[in-house]
């Protein structure tokens, strides 16, 4: 039962990264792709009706994580106190930027919120990557299962690491490149003409960065977290996850070359899901490994709530999420197709 909920939480997080990932990515490429006011409006319009719903995956995923693994939620959220607060502030600034930007039309208001939107999106991508890096590397847990990490110490992966060390920064950069590619592909998919063209170019450049960083990060991960390799050796079927990531990344290149942006975007989704599931598979059954003493690591069993709670939640979680899928499909179909601005002719 704990394993099932581990998978469901992983699905929620993967869903969050795939969905909110493209609107974060759109934020990152906002300035490279949109040079004029009307181009930037189109970038925002491409994510406008869905970004808020995408962000709900974070809240719902966090809630699901909380009820299923209260021990993990309480330990990690207090241990990652500062970075989480910074993420919250960035989410606030970004949400405000998107929602309030178009209320006024003048030369100060809009560029200000555009810059806020881009900066917050870019930093969020790096922070999310670094957070994942921390979960893979492990944290110095005490016997009560608690820890507190400063933002940085000496940037080395030692026994007293900070949130940011060379490894987690690398993962952060990979996340940045990945979401840049993901967002650029979404913009290429949703826009036309010069915007589509520029987005394609950004996506291609990002692709090279992604593949290089993926190789480096994979190498570093195998060195830092031995659990990953031993899980793969003991359960070879787990190779499907990295294989999915690899196939997705190849798909991005192939379909980008053939200018099929929809399939290239799906490739990017597969890459993200593949990478995240590889990470989840690699650290399983840990949910937060210990960097010092493996026996102190948090696992699905020592953080989960009682079986009754896990069982009864299936009865509302499954219908609830089916409903969510239902209206997500409805909304995405309703706003499908290339975006155009009112009064613009093509």
């Amino acid at each position: 039962m704990e394993t099932l909920w581990f998978c469901l939480v992983a699905i929620m997080i993967a869903g969050y990264v795939v969905l909110d990932g493209f609107d974060l990515g759109a934020g990152i490429v906002h300035f490279c792709v949109g040079r004029t006011e009307s181009q930037r409006r189109r970038v925002l319009k491409a994510i406008g009706p869905v970004w808020d719903g995408n962000e709900v995956w974070l809240i719902a995923g966090g809630g699901t994580l909380y009820f299923a693994f209260p021990g993990l939620y309480s330990s990690s959220f207090s241990g990652f106190y500062l970075p989480l607060m910074i993420v919250l502030w960035l989410l606030i600034l970004r949400g405000v930027a998107i929602e309030f930007r178009n209320h006024l039309d003048n030369a100060i208001w809009r560029p200000f919120f555009d810059a806020l939107f881009m900066g917050a999106s870019a930093l969020l991508a790096v922070f999310y990557g670094a957070a994942l890096g921390n979960v893979i590397r492990g944290v110095p847990l005490d016997p009560a299962g608690e820890f507190f990490l400063p933002l940085w110490t000496d940037f080395r992966v030692g026994s007293q690491p900070g949130i940011l060390d060379w490894y987690t920064i690398l993962v952060g950069l990979l996340a940045f490149a990945t979401l840049t590619q993901h967002g650029a592909l979404w913009i290429a998919l949703k826009t036309e003409d010069i915007l589509e063209h520029r987005a394609r170019r950004v996506a291609s450049a990002a692709w090279f960065a992604v593949i290089v960083l993926t190789l480096i990060v994979t190498g570093a991960t195998l060195r830092i977290q031995p659990q990953v390799l031993s899980n793969l050796v003991n359960h070879p079927w787990g190779c499907v996850f990295p294989a999915l990531a690899l196939a997705g990344l190849s798909g991005v290149a192939f379909f980008l070359y053939h200018a099929d942006h929809f399939k290239a975007f799906l490739g990017s989704c597969c890459y993200i899901v593949g990478m995240l599931t590889s990470a989840a598979f690699g650290v399983f059954p840990y949910v937060l490994p210990s960097s010092a003493n493996p026996a102190l690591g948090l696992t699905i069993t020592n953080t989960a709530t009682a079986p009754y709670g896990l069982k009864v939640a299936l009865f509302w979680w499954i219908p609830g999420m089916l409903l969510v899928l239902g209206y997500s499909v409805f909304i995405y179909r309703h706003f499908a197709g290339k975006v155009r601005l009112e009064g613009e002719t093509y």
């Binding site: 406008g48 809630g63 009820f67 021990g71 309480s74 606030i92 507190f148 709670g309 706003f335 975006v339």
Partner: protein, 454 residues
């Protein structure tokens, strides 16, 4: 009080109080927008459609601030209150997760359609989006109230081997009797806010002699909704909560009422300043026997005072609790009076013409926010010194390893950011009021200026 604990408490209190200013307005307006859309659909009167569009735009601004300030709340249980989060997660994790799955997805999906889908949807489908949005916001309120009700009156749980609370009965948690009264009282409170805000904007239009056809609609709908809600706040919902308090949290009731000594035929205090050093109320103005009657339906019933309980069970800030409660009740009484006078004015056909009364309605604007905030302060200060009533003390709840320096840093960060958010909100809503709904005869702006969401 130890300073780390005080900081964690103020951190949560500040962020949640600020958030709830917008949450109450959004939840109340969601209902009123639905009402306006329903009238428009039923009568075919285009003024109501245009009014609904105006208030949807207003709602969207409030909702945006509510969402971005609400996200931190979901995280703060873990960041600042991790020992509580661990102990209670097996129970309240359920309701918090359900809020995300059932309410937030519904709201975020259908707000976009309500704001920007009007051209593409049939009137009936568009009306339906307003219903779904209303359902989403009110469901969200339900799950939060159930969560808080469990902290006020823990039910349907057992304590596991490691001391953590474990859920025993899913329906027992959702149908907590405490939650029923609290939910009704709280949600009707949001309608008071939205109703009086609507009436206030309407009075502003009538007083400035512009957009008067809308001014009359806003005053009428706002006063009707706000006034009815104000009466329901007192009876039966407020009364129901009071009786529950008398049964389950008698020490809280004593502190709220400023009743230091146990006595029969206990009086209801209208005014007075509690002096906790001398255990007495200065300058009291009271109604004899009334508290006994309200709590137990007998004029001579004995009501326990603070002296009946050991002092380590007393709420830790009796004066603030006492004032919060009295401000809430005082303002609530004022709302009922305003509602009754407005009804009389409407009956005499003078509601829209009496400038003096329109001034009163316009100036009511801040008071429902104050009353709702004071109500929540009453509930949460009244729960002290417990975090989970009778089970876990507040001092046992915060994160062990988060230092006061880090807490103060993020508290200051939130204070700065929320100040800016508040200024932005006022600026944008005042602008929206200044522009107003589209006058009749002018083509309607179906697309609001912020058309990006399409």
């Amino acid at each position: 009080m130890d300073s780390v604990l005080a900081l964690h408490r103020f951190h949560f209190a500040f962020t949640v109080t600020f958030h709830y200013i917008f949450a109450q307005l959004s939840m109340g307006l969601a209902l009123l927008v639905f009402v306006l859309k329903s009238i428009a659909l039923k009568t075919g009167d285009d003024r109501y459609n245009r009014a609904a569009r105006f208030w949807t735009r207003f709602f969207a601004i409030s909702f945006a601030v509510g969402v971005v300030t609400g996200v931190p709340m979901e995280f703060q249980f873990g960041t600042n209150w991790s020992r509580f989060a661990k102990a209670a997660g097996g129970v309240i994790g359920q309701t918090l997760a359900m809020e995300g799955v059932f309410a937030f997805f519904l709201e975020s999906s259908f707000l976009g359609l309500l704001l920007y889908g009007e051209k593409r949807l049939s009137p009936k489908a568009h009306w339906l989006t307003s219903l779904l949005l209303f359902a989403g916001t009110w469901l969200s309120g339900f799950f939060i109230i159930v969560t808080d009700a469990w902290m006020q009156h823990p039910v349907a749980y057992s304590v596991g081997p490691n001391g953590n609370a474990l859920l025993q009965s899913f329906w027992g948690l959702l149908l907590n009797p405490w939650a029923a009264w609290m939910y009704l009282h709280n949600m009707i409170g949001t309608v008071v806010t939205a109703g009086f805000v609507m009436a206030s904007v309407g009075a502003f239009y009538l007083l400035t002699r512009r957009l008067e056809e809308y001014g009359r609609i806003y005053v009428k709908v706002g006063v009707a909704a706000g006034g009815m809600a104000a009466i329901l706040m007192a009876f039966p919902t407020g009364d129901g909560q009071g009786k529950m308090l008398a049964r389950h949290q008698p020490v809280t009731l004593a502190a709220m009422e400023g009743l230091f000594e146990t006595r029969q035929a206990a009086p209801l205090v209208i005014l007075g300043q509690p002096d906790t050093a001398k255990n007495r109320l200065d300058n009291p103005a009271t109604v004899p026997g009334m508290l006994s009657f309200l709590s137990y339906r007998r004029w001579s019933a004995e009501v326990k005072g603070l002296d009946a309980f050991p002092s380590d069970l007393h709420p830790d800030n009796v004066p603030l609790l006492y004032y919060s409660y009295h401000i809430m009740v005082g303002l609530g009484t004022m709302f009922i009076a305003v509602a009754l006078v407005s009804a009389l004015q409407l009956w005499r056909g003078r509601l829209y013409a009496s400038r003096a009364w329109l001034w009163v309605l316009m100036l009511m604007l801040p008071f429902p926010f104050i009353a709702n905030t004071a109500g929540w302060m009453t509930a949460e200060l009244g729960r002290q010194p417990w975090l989970i009533y009778g089970v876990m003390r507040t001092s046992a709840g915060p994160s062990m390893l988060v230092s006061s320096g880090n807490t103060l840093f993020t508290l200051l960060g939130f204070m700065g950011m929320y100040t800016l958010l508040g200024i932005l909100f006022l600026f944008l809503t005042f602008r929206e009021i200044e522009q107003g709904p589209d006058p009749l005869g002018v083509p309607a702006r179906v697309h609001p200026p912020q058309e990006i969401l399409l």
